[in-house]
Subunit: 146 residues, 2 copies
Amino acid sequence: MEVSEKKPFRELCNEHGIAVTHQRQVLYEVMKSMHGHPSPEEVYARVKKRIPAISLATVYKNIHLFVESGIFREVSVHHGSLRVEMNHRPHHHLVCSECKAIRDIDERELHLQPKQTRLSDGFLVERYSIDVIGLCPQCQAMQSVQ
Amino acid sequence: MEVSEKKPFRELCNEHGIAVTHQRQVLYEVMKSMHGHPSPEEVYARVKKRIPAISLATVYKNIHLFVESGIFREVSVHHGSLRVEMNHRPHHHLVCSECKAIRDIDERELHLQPKQTRLSDGFLVERYSIDVIGLCPQCQAMQSVQ
DNA sequence: TTCGCTGCAAAGGTTTTGCATCGGA
DNA sequence: TCCGATGCAAAACCTTTGCAGCGAA
């Protein structure tokens, strides 16, 4: 499940049909060296130390490119605007990786029922929120057509 | 696990120490009648039909109030800005409901390993993304102090 | 040489805030 | 009456876009 193995950046770019630019290379290296869940601004601040003239727009464009290529991943598929949950029953979400549509799935239908309430590091569990990410039937049909 | 039972709105407000205003009441009723995962703009459009003079700011303020009170819930705890995942190993997230801190937890440590790849409605599973929502040790300590 | 990439600045979308006024308790 | 709630407008973010010039292939 490793997303990017130790592969030269040039090779990664060839695979995805993108040009190897200096900005892109440094951005990639800086990102690989970071930990946690940085925001584009945080990545930008780090890259600026090595390329002071780089623009935030370039950072955004390339982060998107990396995410689309599967080189990096977003922490959440729901990072857009605020959405309110109208289904008050215990359920989780089926999120289509293509069209981003969200469908609810009943908790029992997932055949997953976690029991722990306290993890080893002391974290006190209130609830689990599960996103099942994949392809909805419509997008599967689209893919087989193309 | 029902978040809001059939309880008069006035009672709900008393419990949470908030005033019962006309706007708030209509907003609540309109939201309860909606399905899916509406955005504040969508809620605003609906409420405007009954209170044409209502402002979007009021809708935002009250949605937040409802979410903080537990009357409604957000679809995702990560609705803010884009975050990039730096941990390339299979893992999930511990998200503190107080301070919003995100910590990674190894997939195996969760003792959950779903096996299905296709659900009954045809949805093709690519991966599971699990947020374990609860209180981190620091916030638990904070709560017991206050 | 060509087409994609970059930097800049401006625009766009979403959400928050300050403030005067209004209204529920 | 009083303090919280509202509406408005402006500001504050975060992100995207248009475009002229630059640079990788």
